[in-house]
Symmetry: C2
Subunit: 222 residues, 2 copies
DNA sequence: GAACAATCTAAGCAGTGCTTACTTGCAGCT
DNA sequence: AGCTGCAAGTAAGCACTGCTTAGATTGTTC
């Protein structure tokens, strides 16, 4: 992955190169392992050069994150529009795209949801992917396959499910025994099918499960 | 949170103090902001002292994570045993405990699922919480409220859902508008009720949602 | 009470983010 | 063409952080 400059003094496309190398490093060794000096060396420039393209390390990460959200949005739209015009199917397609994106773009995904990242463009890019989910849920409600009323718990459920699966997978928490990506893909479909089919029904039992407080007066922390 | 030593040359309980201050810092400013020199200063010792209790920074984080898993397991057991002896209710209680723990112990939770952390004790602590979920799902299957057969997708679904919700909340990704912790708690119950009630049914529609490949020949990355 | 082990201090090395002062070369203008 | 201005690069160095080393201090054990 060592990238050398073509010819002269100026690199020509250093910004893009820095992003590419960063994504590669983060993918293989994590965000903490990303080091601006090594990054510059890999791009074939001196250690000060990157600062002409990114204000600081955080700005570089923010750029990676923003790019990631662009790709995620595109992937979700693509998968959604590739299935039949059915609200439940489309919601499932969005979820599948989300998990698929995360596993296929670890480098991007690992950066996209860092709370410490800020940036004007990033703040705009994040809600757009969220908006896709919201719209899909709305369609489910409009076509009657999801219960009408407050959409927030529905969106939260759907988002949490796919985000949790993606996160657990990316962080390597899931037991690796017999759980490779090939087996994960159809499992995700089953998974999302169960989830969203469940969302599409009336849930009379939900009210029964009202919050029950634990017994008071415990020693160990909650 | 500045902690001074009681009297003499030896601190007396430096290890515990270091853990406590670390958890506080991580909670308020994130893992990256944790700095061993500042940590030592806050504990009232020199910068080399912590290395007599933790091999390196990573070992310190691993200790925090391990402690977190212990607390999590305790909280899950406590909430589970506080509800009636009903498989679905108990599964819901476990999920509620999971999310509740994450929001109430950000400092621990932020460290617990870092893939780059290793340690003999940590490797043993992690699967124990997982085991609780697995057992609860098994009970659901045994009592007939969950579909028999492969338990893996069921556990994966339940875990992903609560983990995703916790992660999104912790990372501050969720829109803050009208979504404070007070409103989150009952929403979580609704959420989990929907989820696990859904898991508890036969899902004839799941097979209909088989994976459909996207159109081949795309330009942008997946 | 002397030896020993555990704990802490002081000092310093190596690596990293970022800044500053300077250099290079491309683009546009007359 | 030649001049000029600016973007993009270099080299050097400061501040901070993780970690190590050598030595000082204290509690414990025989």
């Amino acid at each position: 992955m060592r990238l050398k400059r073509k010819g002269g003094y100026h690199h020509g496309e250093l910004r893009r190169t820095l992003l590419d190398v960063s994504i590669d490093v983060i993918d293989r060794r994590g965000v903490d392992a990303l080091n601006l000096r090594e990054l510059a060396a890999r791009a074939g420039v001196s250690s000060g050069a990157p600062y002409h393209h990114f204000a600081d390390r955080e700005a570089l990460l923010a750029a990676v994150a923003e790019e990631g959200f662009g790709y995620l949005e595109a992937a979700m739209i693509r998968e959604r529009d590739a299935v039949a015009d059915d609200a439940t199917l489309r919601l499932t397609a969005l979820g599948r795209a989300y998990v698929s994106f995360a596993t296929n773009h670890r480098g991007h995904f690992r950066v996209m949801f860092r709370g410490d990242l800020h940036g004007a463009d990033l703040e705009k890019a994040r809600p757009r992917a969220f908006q896709l989910l919201r719209d899909a849920i709305h369609d489910c409600q409009r076509s009657g396959v999801a219960p009408a009323g407050d959409w927030q718990p529905l969106v939260l459920t759907a988002w949490s499910a796919v985000h949790g699966l993606a996160t657990l997978w990316i962080d390597g928490v899931l037991p690796k025994k017999g759980l490779n990506p090939e087996r994960l893909a159809p499992m995700v479909t089953t998974f999302l099918g169960r989830m969203f089919a469940a969302l599409a029904r009336k849930q009379p039992s939900a009210s029964r499960l009202s919050r029950r407080r634990a017994r008071p007066g415990k020693a160990s922390p909650e």
